[in-house]
Structure formats: C-alpha cells, structure tokens
Amino acid sequence: MADAKIFDQQLYPYQRHPDQDASAPVRHPVIVVGAGPVGLATAIDLGLHGVPVVLLDDNDRVSTGSRAICFAKRPLEIFDRLGCGQQMVDKGVVWNVGKVFMGERQVYDFNLLPEGGHRRPAFINLQQYYVEQMLLDRLRDLQGQGAPIQLRGKSRVSAIGQHEDHATVEIDTPEGPYELEADWLIACDGAGSPTRKMLGLDFVGRVFEDNFLIADVTMQADFPTERWFWFDPPFNPGQSALLHKQPDGVWRIDLQLGWDIDKEVEKRPENVIPRIKAMLGEDVEFALEWVSVYTFQCRRMERFRHGRVIFAGDSAHQVSPFGARGANSGIQDADNLCWKLKLVLDGSAPETLLDSYDAERLYGAEENILNSTRSTDFITPKSEISRIFRDAALHLSERHAFARPFVNSGRLSVPCTYDGSALNTADAMPEAPARTRPGSPCPDAELPDGFLLDRLGGRFTVLAIGTDAKPVEAGDIPIDLIALAPSETLAERYGTGIYLIRPDQHIAARWPAFDARAIREAIARATGNTP
C-alpha cells in the first residue's frame, strides 16, 4: 500500500498562469498563502461567498504524516458549513473514552459522554492529510461549479510589500518569479510562517524544554478505540506516553523523550522500534508510517492584523499539542475572518470590522494558550514541587473522585464564547440559558427534519423560537429568517425568543420578542457599522 499514500501524490502540480506573463502585476481581491487546513478552509469559505481568491502553496501535495489528528465538534460543524464535514466524519474514528494510567496502573477513565441532539460527535481522529485531501476535493467541486478559487502549486512567496490599500507579493515558481498584488493577504503559512518573518513581526511566548517522539504505526491490533495516556509508564520511565487510534489501522504514539536528546538519532528506526516494542509488547507486529521529533512552544503574535496582511492559524498562534487546539483553533480563525472580509470587500462594512477578527481570535488564542500551558505544566512538571503535586493528584485520583478534575492530560478543544466582543449586543434575555448568551457559538439541536446548524451560517439569520418574527431588511446585508417551534432541546439550549446569528454561527444578540429596529441596530453593531 505504501505506493498509494495520498501524501506522495502531486495533487495540485504547478501550472503556468497567464498572470505570470502579464506586463504589470495583476491585482486580486484576496491572496491566501499556504494550503494547509486553515488556508484551504479560508479559500473555500471565501469562494462560497463569491470572493475571488488565489491560494498559493510552496508545495503541490497534502502534508506528510498524521500531524493534527484530533478534530473537535466545532471545526466539524464549520466543515459542514463549507460542505465537506460528512466525508471527514465517515472516514474518521469517533472516540469518547479516555483512560489515564500512572506507572503500571490505570488510575481512572473518562467518557466524554456527548450531549444528545448534535449532528457531530465531540471528536474524530483523522490524519491531517485526509482533512487536507477532503478540503481539496471540496475546493475542486466548487471550482467545477464556477466558484472563483484558484490554487497554485509550487508557488513560494519570497517577498511581501505592504502598502496603504494593498500588498505586493513576489512568487517563486519552477519557471521563475512573478509578482501579484492583493487587496488583502491572508497568511496561513504555519508556525514557521515565512510571511511573519518577511515582515519582521514578533512571535513571543514560552518554549517548553522537552521533546516528543511522534510515530504513526500501522498494526492490526485489538486495542480499543480510546485515548490512552500514561504518566511515568514502565516502558518510558519518568516520562509520558499517548496512544490514539486513527483510520486505516494507523495508531498515533507520542512518547515524551526529555530535553537532553539528539533528535536525529532518536528518529532512526533502529531507535524508534525498540521503544514501540516496549510499549506494545514484543509480539505485536507493526510498521512505521511516519516518525517525527518535536519541541513545542506556546506563543502568539501581538496582533493578527497588520494593515492589509492578516494572520490565521499557526502563523498567528501556536500551542502545545495537548488538547488538540492547533488546527482546531485555526479553522475557527478562518470561520471568523471570511464573512467579515466579504462584507468589507463588498463595501457593506468598514475596514475596522476586521479589528474584531483580531480581538475575537486573540481572545480565543489566549484561552487556548492558557489551557495548553496548564496541560503542559501537568504533563511535564518543570520543578520538583510541581512534580510532587502532580504525582499526588494522580495518586489520589485512583481512589477519590475529587482529585480527577486535577488530572490534566489535555483539556480538549471547545470553542470560545466571545464575551465582551464589540460586535455583541447587550443580552436582553439574562434569564435564558447562559450557553447561548451573545458571543456564544450556537449549540446544535435536532429538528424534525434535520439539525439546526445545517440551517444556519454563511449569512446573518434571525432565528425565532416559539415567538413571531417578520423578515428584516438591513441595507445590502442579506438576512435569513427561520422560525421554529420550541422543542424540548431548543427550549433547554435557547429558551424562547429572537436570536440574531452571525454568518459564523455565533450569537450576536437575543431578545424575548421581535423588534425590527433592535435587530437592525444589532446588525449594524455586528458589522462594525455603529459609529
């Protein structure tokens, strides 16, 4: 099967484009740099909005190795909105149970026990290359339907110029360089972001002095579909380990190695294989698909928007892998940005609306960095006393329920509520459920004919639950109206009233009763049109 690996195929080979022969640099509304999950999602989202977008990638294939493997419910809901969530869930491995071991003993297990009435599970495991491939398939579908998306492979950005109302981009190709202009440039070029470096922007935070060996192992083993996490296991004394299942009989293994190691030596199969044998048992047959050694950082840019250049995903913020908050938060960046950019490009919102992208996603990044830093401090204690407390919590967790919430092997990614965002209208239903207060992502609910989230998104929506509403006009911003009877689930998650939902399925405002003027004011606020 090795020759059929998706990441060995040139899925978007270099092709000469007429732009390369133009006498002057061609101007595009949006250029996206980097065709990873975030860049692909951004290009698709903009394409769905009818915004012409050029997606540049220095490569011509999906990423090698599993990399991000854990995709959470909220990004899956975003992929649904983009039109490719189902393929991912069909291919992915759904899991709910996690087990925590200390030494040779299991200290406790947990079940994510997903709440009913959601279309999507809490998590799926799916290799990043499959996520990219499915996004790519969707992008090709949309191109076939006439969406204005261009993907240019083997097109490496080598220089960027910033101007008042546009950016210039120099691009290296196998046939030499050319230049383009963009009204907006979105940098989705990863943690090592060349764009960030070319602009000389800071990326500050904490580097964790530790190394982890990640290995994708193919085996036909009967380990259950669970997340197993070890503190101080006999096969990796004093360190941690993780075992997690992916599709195609591929298992992800993470082994903490400590600081003082030689990365190149550790990556050699003759050193990796004995470690994995010690973990799985001598008689388990397996093959190595991919091995990497990584050190990680928790850091972010001070601002994600720099004039006409906007950063999204790992280029803007980086977290430790514990908690699956990297790719998951990057997808939410794209979700937050694209509808705003569309309104700005249409002239329906002022440029300052994009400052709310900065504010809201910085808030999200801070939350992710806080959570992932705390997980890291628990998993890799940095002082003697920190280790003593960590071990005490683990020891107690085996017999006492109270200690289990202390055990932190990763607080798994949940979307953040944009409390305090300038786009929110003050909550007019303070007695209604807190989970649907302004700023919250809409919780899904099962309807007689499908799911709520399938009806929302892409445009502003007035959602009337158990109360009357009429269509509302707000200049050239289209507004959908959905009226629903209050089922038990809707009542429990939303109560009854009028909700104003943003195109990214976050709640902008809510009221107990319909008031067209209040809705128009809230839309003005949510689009940066309030002075």
Binding site: I388, F389, D391, A392, A393, H395, L396, H400, F402, A403, F406
Partner: protein, 61 residues
C-alpha cells in the same frame, strides 16, 4: 466565607501530634508526597477559591 485565622481546633496538641505521627518513619520523599496529598484533600474540602487565596497569602507570610 473568609479564612479563619483564629484558634479553631478543640485539641491543638492532639491535632499537631496526629500530623507528626502520619510522617513518622517516612523518607523525605514520602513525607513530601504525603504533604502534597494532604494539601489537595484539604483544598477540595475547603472548596472556596477566596478562602484558598487568603490561605495561600497567610502561608506566604
């Protein structure tokens, strides 16, 4: 509720002795581990962030 820093034990000598007895015969590492477990048990029992904050402040001296 706020942190009680007034005498609160009916038999302080017995309580103190009980604490020392629990550590008897333990190595330094074992004692450190016991103390850490005890702190976590008591923290949970108190169950009030404000009291914990005041307790940490008082302990810092």
């Amino acid at each position: 509720m706020s942190l009680n820093l007034q005498p609160n034990l009916s038999s302080p000598d017995d309580a103190y002795a009980m604490l020392l007895e629990a550590h008897e015969g333990l190595t330094k590492d074992q004692s450190d581990a016991l103390n850490a477990r005890l702190i976590l048990v008591l923290m949970n029992h108190i169950g009030d962030m404000e009291v914990l904050r005041e307790a940490l402040e008082a302990a810092r001296g």
